[in-house]
Each structure stands twice: as C-alpha cells, then as structure tokens.
C-alpha cells in the first residue's frame, strides 16, 4: 500500500466532509445521537457515546467555515487540473 501525502489529505478532507453533513435535527436526533441525548449521568465519567457525540458536534461547529474554503479550493483545482 503506497500512501502518499496527497492521499492522506484527500482522506482527511473526505472524512471531515462526511462528519459535517450529518444534520442535527433531521438525522442525528432520529438515530438517537442528538445533542441532548448525549449527556448521561452527571458526576460520573462520560461514556464513549457521549464523548463521540461531543466530538461530532464540535467537529461540525469548528470545521464549518474552513471546510467551505477548502472545498471551494478543491473544486476549482480539480476543475482546472483534473
């Protein structure tokens, strides 16, 4: 398996895009992964599910604007250079 740095960047962009398209109300709440369903017992260590939901929500909040920029740049470059 010959990985190049370019394939790493591609994989990273695709993964972050995949996390960013998970809509809060339309999808995550229906599955049971909404923002309010993650908070388990207080005073105890948060479990894996709440950590995961926290991660998804924070990635969506933080990476929204940079993803717009990066995706636009990718689209332009792929259109121009194939």
């Amino acid at each position: 398996m010959a990985f190049t740095l370019y394939s790493l960047i591609q994989a990273a962009i695709l993964c972050v895009n995949a996390i960013a398209v998970l809509h809060e109300d339309r999808f995550l709440s229906k599955v049971g992964w909404g923002a309010d369903q993650g908070i388990g017992g207080f005073g105890d260590e948060p479990g894996i599910k709440s950590q995961l939901l926290n991660l998804v929500r924070s990635v969506r909040t933080v990476m929204r604007v940079p993803l717009i920029i990066v995706n636009s740049v990718c689209i332009v470059l792929l259109l121009l250079f194939g």
């Binding site: 398996m1 010959a2 990985f3 190049t4 740095l5 394939s7 260590e45 991660l55």
Partner: protein
Amino acid sequence: MLSRSSSYKLLKSCSLLSRIPFIFVDLATKPRVRTAHPAGKPLLFEDTSSLSPPMATQGYYVGGAERGDHHLFRDPMASAAVMYGSSLAFQGKNVVNKEISRFVSVSKLKYFFAVDTTYVLKKLLLLLFPYAHQDWEVRYHRDTPLTPRDDVNAPDLYIPSMAFLTYILLAGMALGIQGRFSPEVLGLCASSALVWVVMEVVALALALYLLTVHSDLSTFDLLAYSGYKYVGMIVTMVGGLMFGRNGYFLSLAWASCSFMYFIVCSLRVKILSSLSTDSMGPGASAKPQLRLYITMTIAVFQPIVIYWLTSHLVR
C-alpha cells in the same frame, strides 16, 4: 569579537547612526540568564532550550550589522539603506516567528530535542533490550518533567526523526540491492512511512480521547512513542539484509518483542497511573480493563506495522 571599549570608539567615529547600535551592543554583551542545569554535565552545544528567543536573535542580528557598518559609513545613504533593510528583515523574522509559534509551541518542541550522547546510547540500548530496566517512571523537577538529557525514561523526538531518516536511506539501499531503485521510489517510501505515523498518532489520540483516559500524554509524546518503532525496523532490516530470510524473521521477532515490552512498560506508567487521581465510583471498575486493553492493542499493533513496512524490502 570586539571588546566593549573598542566597539564604543568605532561607533563614536561615525556620526550618522552611532546612537542606535549602542542599545543593541549592551544587549549583546550582557550575560544571558540561564536556568541552572541540574546534573552539571559538560554540554557540547549551547543549551538554547531555556533561552528567551528575542535576546538571542537581537545578539546575532547586531553582530552582522556591526561588522558591515564600518565599511559603508563613508557613504551615508548606503549605510542608511543597509540599516533600513536589516530592520525590515528583523520585523519580518519576528512576524514569521509569531505565526509559527501560534501553531507549534517551539519551547515545547525544544524540550524533546534536548538530548545528549549518553541519553541516546542508553535509550537505544533500552529500545533493543528493555528487560533489565526496573524503574519506568518519568522523573519530575518542580512540576515540570525533566529533559531527556537528565532522565532516560523521558520521551524525545531526536531518536525517532533520525531513525526515520535512516530507515528511508536503508530502504533505498535495500531496493537498490534488489535492482528496483529509482529516486521516485525513495520519496514514495518516505511519504508512505510518514502517513503511517500520522495515522497511528491520530488513532491513538482518538482512542485516548474517546475512552476518557486523562493522561498527560501530549501529541508530541504520542509521536515520540510511535516513532521509536523505527529503531526496531532498522534492526530488522539490517538483520534481513545481512542474513537473508531467516535473519529477517529472527531479528523481526527480537525487535518486536523488545519493542512491545518497552511500549507496555512505558505506557502502563503513563496511562494506568492516572487511575489513582480519578474519583472512585461504580463506573471505575470498567476503567482499568479498558486502559489495559488500549495498552495491549497498541503493543500488538506494532509488530504488524513493522512487518508491513519492511517485508517488501527484504526478499
């Protein structure tokens, strides 16, 4: 280097810019404040891990400006242009330093490169034969961890980066022996190994975050520990190149076992020791097992990576 009195006379004889270099000369010749080195061993190079950067850059910047000044002072316009240009470069360098230090904290990185020869030798011996070592705790000195220079158990980034470069060169040599060498293959091998390291560090950090293991392992620590396997890879490849297939598997077994033992011992101290600070509750009984599983998974994953990255080079 000019002494203080002779440099004063030289600057006074030039009318145009004599006042500004005065301040810089004072800063350059003042003795630098240095935190006391605990062990007192003789250092081969200057210890910059505790120096403040602005003092160092100003001292070096002035040296060049001073030596060039007394040639150009006959033409005041040229000397003015030189001073203006060098002040612009100085500002540019400051801006670059500030931007870089926003992403990568340079002082934290300097901690990982504060090594010396005895530390490197002891650490390499430890990586290949860790069974005799008793005490795996990282010692602290007033709340900050000791630099690798003073403590064999401290992680560093010098050995992983040097081992990585050696691995790339060895891979090139191995491919040349098989007759499959070309310069592109070298770059491909380098980026492939780098991608594996990045993926492993990301997976480790993600696992530690998701399972709420509150250890003091920073990203650089994880990078250091996963970079240590390159030493094992080099030993494996040398064994394979010198002694053929049997030698390859023998050195692979030896390097894998030692490195697994090393990783389990080092990470056990860091991951499982944070148990004592957590509040004991009903959920705590599941935690020691989880942490043990993490450590074991990391350990088992190493020989796989070592085999994957070296087997295609040794036929």
